[in-house]
């Protein structure tokens, strides 16, 4: 389920995190972000989490004030992508301790580090939450020792 990119944005449409697993120009990235944020925010709350967009499938889910939005390819599994989003939220939650949008805003680099331990090149590299958190903790430790 090679993920193409992941975006986190707020209900107001502010981008909180972006991770691109495909090479695109900055212009293209901005365009996609703008379009998707608009499309997803326009959807009603009761609507399902999937939509077809260009030749991709968008899987998104809202957690509190944040939207987590992933793009996958046509044959990919939407449900496992939702699972990935959920895992990531759980990881953030464990790491920050009941995470909120402000945690991600003020510690955005940490949010990236966690994501990078969880996904690599758009693939889930570690399905064990424990292992991801362990890796992050040890890396953080190393950072403090430095």
């Amino acid at each position: 389920m090679l993920m193409q990119f992941m975006l986190l944005f707020s209900r107001q449409g502010k981008l909180r995190l972006q991770k691109w697993y495909v090479p695109l120009s900055d212009k293209e990235k901005k365009k996609i972000t703008r379009e998707l944020v608009q499309t997803v925010l326009a959807r009603k709350p009761k609507m399902c989490s999937f939509l077809e967009w260009r030749d991709l499938k968008i899987v998104y889910k809202r957690y509190a004030s944040l939207y987590f939005c992933c793009a996958i390819e046509d044959q990919d599994n939407e449900l496992i992508t939702l699972e990935i989003i959920h895992r990531y939220v759980e990881l953030l939650d464990k790491y920050f301790g009941s995470v909120c949008e402000l945690d991600i805003i003020f510690n955005f680099e940490k949010a990236y580090f966690i994501l990078d331990e969880f996904l690599l090149g758009g693939e889930a590299q570690e399905t064990s939450k424990k292992n991801v958190l362990k890796a992050i903790e040890q890396a953080d430790l190393l950072q403090e020792v430095n």
Binding site: Q18, K46, E78, L120, A135, L142, N146
Partner: protein, 1114 residues
Amino acid sequence: MALKIVKGSIDRMFDKNLQDLVRGIRNHKEDEAKYISTCIDEIKQELKQDNIAVKANAVCKLTYLQMLGYDVSWAAFNIVEVMSSSKFTYKRIGYLAASQCFHEGTDVIMLTTNQIRKDLSSPNQYDTGVALTGLSCFVTPDLARDLANDIMTLMSHTKPYIRKKAVLIMYKVFLKYPESLRPAFPRLKEKLEDPDPGVQSAAVNVICELARRNPKNYLSLAPLFFKLMTSSTNNWVLIKIIKLFGALTPLEPRLGKKLIEPLTNLIHSTSAMSLLYECVNTVIAVLISLSSGMPNHSASIQLCVQKLRILIEDSDQNLKYLGLLAMSKILKTHPKSVQSHKDLILQCLDDKDESIRLRALDLLYGMVSKKNLMEIVKKLMLHVDKAEGTTYRDELLTKIIDICSQSNYQYITNFEWYISILVELTRLEGTRHGHLIASQMLDVAIRVKAIRAFAVAQMAMLLDNAHLLTGNMQRNGICEVLYAAAWICGEFSEHLEDPNQTLEAMLRPKVATLPGHIQAVYVQNAAKLFATVLRKHEGATDSQAAQETSQLLVERLPLFVQSANLEVQERASCILQLVKYIQKLQQKDVEVAEEVSALFAGELNPVAPKAQKKVPVPEGLDLDAWINEPPSESESEDEKPKAVFAKEETKHSRPRHTEVDEKELARRREARKQEQANNPFYIKSSPSSQKVYQDAPGVEHIPVVQIDLSVPLKVPGMPMSDQYLKLEEERRQKEKAEKKKKEKKKKREKHGKGKKHDSGPESEEDITPAHHVDIVTEEMPENALPSDDDDKDPNDPHKALDIDLDKPLADTEKLPVRTHRSEPLKSPGEDGDVESVPQEPKKRSSKEKKEKKKDKDKDRKVCQLDFSVRRITDSNKNGCYLETKWVVYTHLWAVYDIQGNLQDGSQVVVSVIFENKSDSFLKSMEFNVLDSLNSKLQRPEGAGPHDGLVVPFQLPPGVSNEARFIFSVQSIVMPQKLKGTLTFIVKSEDSSTHEKLDFKLHFTCTSYLITTPCYSDAYAKLLESGDLKSSSLRLEGVNMPFHHLLARICFHHHFSVVERIDSCASMYSRSIQGHHVCLLVKTADQTVSIDAKCDEPSLLGNVLDEIKQTFSQC
């Protein structure tokens, strides 16, 4: 307390950390842009400082600003600096920034190669991890080529943490550098059986991803995957494998048969919805690929449909949506199994979620039959009335038309009903699809001859009630149908009951408010009608009525003659003149009807849309050839033909086309195709007839007009489609009854068909159309060419990975091993940098020989001994570059680089990467160097000056590791060479031998330089100070672009460019002991002159010598 003070000063040092920035942005909502621009200015100042902590903080802030959409590409070099920090804290930030900001066009990426290589081989697994993660985001073809071998080595790292990352990133490497696939594949395959589940899962991921794109090369892996599928309990892995099998089965049907059982077992047993969904999808794919109609598989389909029904009935919108999606896949091959769930699908049309309703609509498209079409469309018409929002209503409208018109109106049994549906759809005000309805009306009226009388009557009524359609809105899309109505009434006017009335309706003053193209059709068809009316009256010898009609036209047409639309005006004045002439003839009692009708005689036949394209090119006709010779270029200005309307701007016009040869044309065509393929907005023709509807992006911008449908715009006297439905049902019942009677009479009962009206599906053949319908097929030219459906995207990056993996690996395919930017050195016989006397002069393996041959570097010399020596330059952790040399030996490869220590001007660190290339175990390695007066190897306390240092690791076969040795140096103004030896034990299965390798370490003056950025003002001050001694150098015959030259100096000799003006540049570097080195490089006609200044003349002389040597080698 003390800590607090320190902390405070640190805080002050970082004027603003990331948190402050974020807070600041939040506090400056109203003037955000201004605030951020001041922040960026601050960051620029911070980046100028030497303190790496300040730089890292600045880069971190930039990463945040990049996310907000600000351009930070200017700081790319600073990001590289931070990446190169030896501290993990900063390295992490540097790599994060790089992975967010770098892309293939970022030019500094090429500087990172050796830094990344170094981090990859770092003893700290988190350094390696962070480098791999970063690389996965910004890997370029160059990086992939240069690092493929390093990453491949990491796939066998001792730590699973690194192994799994290395395995995953290999996929990106393959994409960028397809040549690496074959050499790396065996190891990747090995990882499928890695003891660590994470690594195994990563390998499955990568291979599945590869196999999905080019399945045929991976068929041989099917047994292995089959074993994995039946043994694994990891749902993530299972999903991947199952997906892979979905891709493999079309190529190997036997595999499909074997799969059905385990898949159905999984469907029965799993509780994970994602796995269930994947299984169902794959079973569907397998069954599609198997030849249909295998009776034992209907059970599997039934199972899938059942499971999907459960999904669709679930309250979770997501499952509902996916259930419908999967259902539509089954529909394509097993429509019968889905059709029995029509009730459920129709229910979904009432769902509150629009995307689910649209999915259900897609399904309905495939579910219609002759039997249920009218019923389904009726249901949809109800939804059209109820629908909120134009988007969904328009979607319904197009779907209705799609459903009805699919496969050449296959399911329509009653075209009167269809025409009524179309007429009813015209009630939809504000729809964008007036054009669609119009084209359907035209199509049906033209192609179904039997329906023309009815259609004409309906259209006449539409024209008569046009005011209801055009209503209150000028720019109403629906008025397009009037275009069709007018044309149909005109063209088939012989079927009109009262042509006079229609003619009158078409000439009402209100018509002039319609869009121009419609008015034009009105005018033209009024003339056709006029002809019909004349003929009718003359037939009845009613000359009075005929003259009245002429008079009507003469009175009404002037309105159109005044039209602003050229087309309308032109047609109207033509026809007006014609009518006036006819009027004159009529007054003379001349019969004109025959001649006027002759103007519009002949039948218009429908032509297939692709007909034009399919006309075969007659033999001997070359479409690309010039008809007339193109004007020769030598034509002088005044010979050029005068422009007809306006003077051509000859100055700006492109030069006239010269003869374009075949190749050029092909190239242009290719370029255009490429451009189109790359342009996401170019709509590529899709070969499938079934359209996929989705919300067009940007639909939200269209203002949604609330339409008050409380007063339904029922056109008086129109037959409602519902009536047809009823009639049709009655008719069918009657037919059925009759048939039954007949059947009874013949006493020949067919088996398998229920007698009751609604038990069991009715076979299509039972329903006969109400009218004898002759659907005229569209005309195609004779000998139409078969269509070319090659729609494969030539730009698909995965295409390059279509590589046969079972072929044995050729020697030439080995991965390049650090061969880039290498320079030959003197042959080892004459004072080589490294001299080694191998203990066992073994023959070199042919493998190694070939590998060397393959090396692209033309100027590299292959040494005659058992090793070769090369020197490549490298970047070190502080963003500066240093030399790397390496030793190749049958057992051991060693690469070393020398790195100045910025903090301590009397130290250099030599990092040596040892790689075991043999099949034996290498252990007890000891490194020793014969100290010189100037440079000494730092040994642990208590050790004697001649003791060796034990290398703190052992090397299993194929493994590499890095060791660092610190040297203290006193003077750095001269280059030097140190002799040393490495001893080690080679342990093979049955024996162990002691081996010794002699080498020399070359400390060049360049290796004491550290790339240090310098700003032009500081640079100018430095030059002005007058403390510097100067020297110069001339290089002749340097044949390379100036920026390459600069890059070479930067790269090999650790300089940075201060300023560059045309073919002149100033450069700067600093030694570890703080000497400033300034260069002024000028180039003209292959001659490069370098004026240099430095506070230490001998250092400068040596550096210049080294620069000279660099260029003499190129």
